[in-house]
């Protein structure tokens, strides 16, 4: 089974060196992309069926195609390396294990959109990634591999909203990372009002392989309608939490299997397929193929593809409280429903967990799941926060009612 993203990572840990990377064909994709030119790169990526790996699954070539033709002014590529979706650690793994793969991917994407400057927005907590990327940028530049492309590392100062692409642009510009209105989309008016494409780390890491091996090969890696492999993960009470590169469309059950099954004495009850802001799916849906369309059809989202497992000895109300505390703290405060609504949700859940709530708290939670639904807030943050809540209220109704009717938490 081909694992193009992980193949060069040293088995004992650490990063693939520039030598290792080039021996395995590294930077040949970039050379070939330079020969064929930007239009051909865009076409290959389209044909390869590459969809964004940051959570939304937007087709990468379509995102690029919205960039207007060059007008002589600057255009920017921004790498979203602000991985802060709870339960998600895949981009860290890619940057720590094979930094040149990302650098080559950046160079190919910059070529495709005719950008001469790229900024990597990296969360500051990823110190090892920062060191590896600085080193890789320096090595690639000193060998002339990057041509006239400048790649700058921009370290974040910590806030989840920096992962939202327009919030991220504000963060780079030295402002609060509140989201911007769309339209105009960043491709038209992004950094300093100039055309800008924001791509996720894992998305970019796929580009060298598409450029070198071709669209048909990339498509054939997948067992879904879209192309490529996917970095999947599992956390929670599985025997061996971790990350695995599998064909896009591997089932959730296969991922749990890679994790060695559940920890001793625990049974899988439900899972969040791709990070904190996805709907719970029950154990009965473990056979779902973990690709964009299949997970959506099952009633959730692939998101980041790093699943968080709920077992039978962990309280679902407590788990949702942990999730909503995160969202309440990270809300940027820009729009009222999110700023006021999520803390209210959190207080209701706290009351239920403490055995001080009643059935009216459950009603308030249900109301919020509707009031903060897509279209009711400025950006996708609050709707994302409501996905695990709304699905939990349906799937674990008995647990919520037990908490609300004085029976307390039976998981303690």
């Amino acid at each position: 089974m081909a694992t193009p993203l992980f193949a060069r990572m040293p088995s004992g840990g650490g990063a693939a060196s520039l030598g290792d990377y080039r021996k395995a064909g590294g930077y040949l994709g970039l050379a070939s992309a330079r020969e064929t030119g930007p239009v051909a790169v865009g076409e290959a990526v389209k044909k390869a069926g590459l969809r964004g790996r940051g959570g939304a699954g937007f087709p990468t070539a379509m995102k690029w195609a919205a960039v207007p033709p060059p007008d002589g002014g600057p255009r920017y590529l921004v790498v979203n390396a602000d991985e802060k979706e709870p339960g998600t650690m895949k981009d860290r793994f890619l940057m720590e294990g094979d930094p040149h793969q990302l650098i080559e991917g950046i160079a190919i994407a910059a070529l495709a959109i005719d950008a001469r400057v790229a900024y990597i927005y990296l969360r500051r907590e990823y110190g090892l990634c920062a060191r590896e990327l600085e080193k890789a940028i320096g090595e690639a530049a000193s060998l002339g591999l990057l041509g006239d492309l400048q790649i700058h590392l921009h370290l974040g100062a910590g806030r989840y909203l920096c992962g939202e692409e327009t919030g991220l642009l504000n963060a780079i510009e030295g402002k609060r990372a509140t989201p911007r209105n769309k339209p105009p989309f960043p491709q038209v008016s992004g950094l300093w009002g100039r055309p800008t494409v924001v791509n996720n780390v894992e998305t970019l890491c796929n580009l060298p392989h598409i450029a070198r091996e071709g669209a048909d090969w990339f498509k054939s890696l997948s067992s879904s309608n879209d192309g490529g492999t996917k970095v999947y993960g599992a956390s929670g009470w599985v025997a061996k939490p971790g990350l695995w590169e599998l064909p896009l469309g591997a089932t959730a059950a296969e991922i749990v299997d890679r994790a060695g099954g559940m920890s001793a004495g625990r049974t899988l009850r439900a899972f969040l397929p791709g990070g904190a802001s996805t709907d719970f799916l029950p154990a009965g849906k473990l056979d779902v193929k973990m690709d964009f369309d299949s997970v959506a059809a099952a009633g959730s989202r692939l998101g980041t593809g790093t699943m968080i497992v709920l077992d039978d000895r962990t309280c679902p109300v407590g788990m949702v409280l942990s999730l909503e505390r995160f969202f309440a703290r990270e809300s940027c405060g820009w729009c009222t429903p999110c700023r006021e609504g999520i803390p209210w949700v959190t207080r209701c859940l706290e009351a239920l967990e403490a055995g001080e709530g009643d059935m009216s708290d459950i009603e308030i939670l249900e109301d919020h799941a509707k009031a903060l639904a897509p279209g009711r807030t400025f950006c996708a943050f609050a709707p994302g926060a409501m996905e695990p809540l709304a699905s939990a209220l349906k799937l674990f109704r008995e647990d919520f009612v037990d908490h609300a009717t004085g029976k307390g938490c039976r998981y303690r």
Binding site: P74, E125, G158, G174, R176, A276, V309, L310, M319, F326
Partner: protein, 164 residues
């Protein structure tokens, strides 16, 4: 007053962008690196260096979690309290640190050695429960492992004091 070296670093940062303001958060972090926190004076200095108002600098300083507007200890411990760590008893990590250090989250030990802070997902989910001490990751934590980490830092600090 910012030192020359800090000004030089901020200047190098500002040159990477078409607008100096883009270097604002880094300017704050550079000031913080030397003094462990960002005082009103440092805030004004950083603002002046990149050419924005103090209000603009404060708007950024108060938005980002890693900019400390109050003094912190010599070692800052970020304890992940997000879902993957929570499931694997992350609360016990915070409880053990509170007991061991004798401070509440947000607090600094009286000897000025440690500041204990809750943190959003640190991206160490496969090693849950996890923390960062001075930016370095520590995972698969147990009470014993935490004891060892804290004692090692305390021992080192005492060692330093003995040398002086």
């Amino acid at each position: 007053m910012l030192r020359d070296e800090e000004k030089r670093r901020i200047e190098a940062e500002a040159r990477r962008y078409p607008s100096r303001r883009a270097a604002l958060s880094e300017a704050l972090m550079i000031a913080q690196e030397t003094r462990a926190w960002v005082s009103d004076e440092s805030l004004a200095d950083a603002a002046g260096e990149v050419g924005v108002s103090r209000a603009a600098a404060e708007s950024v300083a108060t938005f980002y979690e890693l900019v400390f507007r109050r003094p912190v200890g010599a070692h800052v411990i970020l304890v992940c309290d997000s879902v993957s760590c929570w499931i694997r008893d992350g609360e016990s990590v915070m409880d053990a640190l509170k007991a061991k250090l004798g401070v509440e989250p947000g607090g600094t030990t009286p000897d000025g050695l440690f500041t204990l802070l809750p943190a959003a997902c640190l991206g160490l989910c496969e090693k849950a429960p996890a923390i960062l001490i001075d930016g370095e990751p520590h995972g698969e934590l147990t009470v014993e492992k935490l004891d060892g980490l804290i004692d090692a830092i305390r021992g080192g600090a005492n060692g330093d004091a003995a040398l002086r």
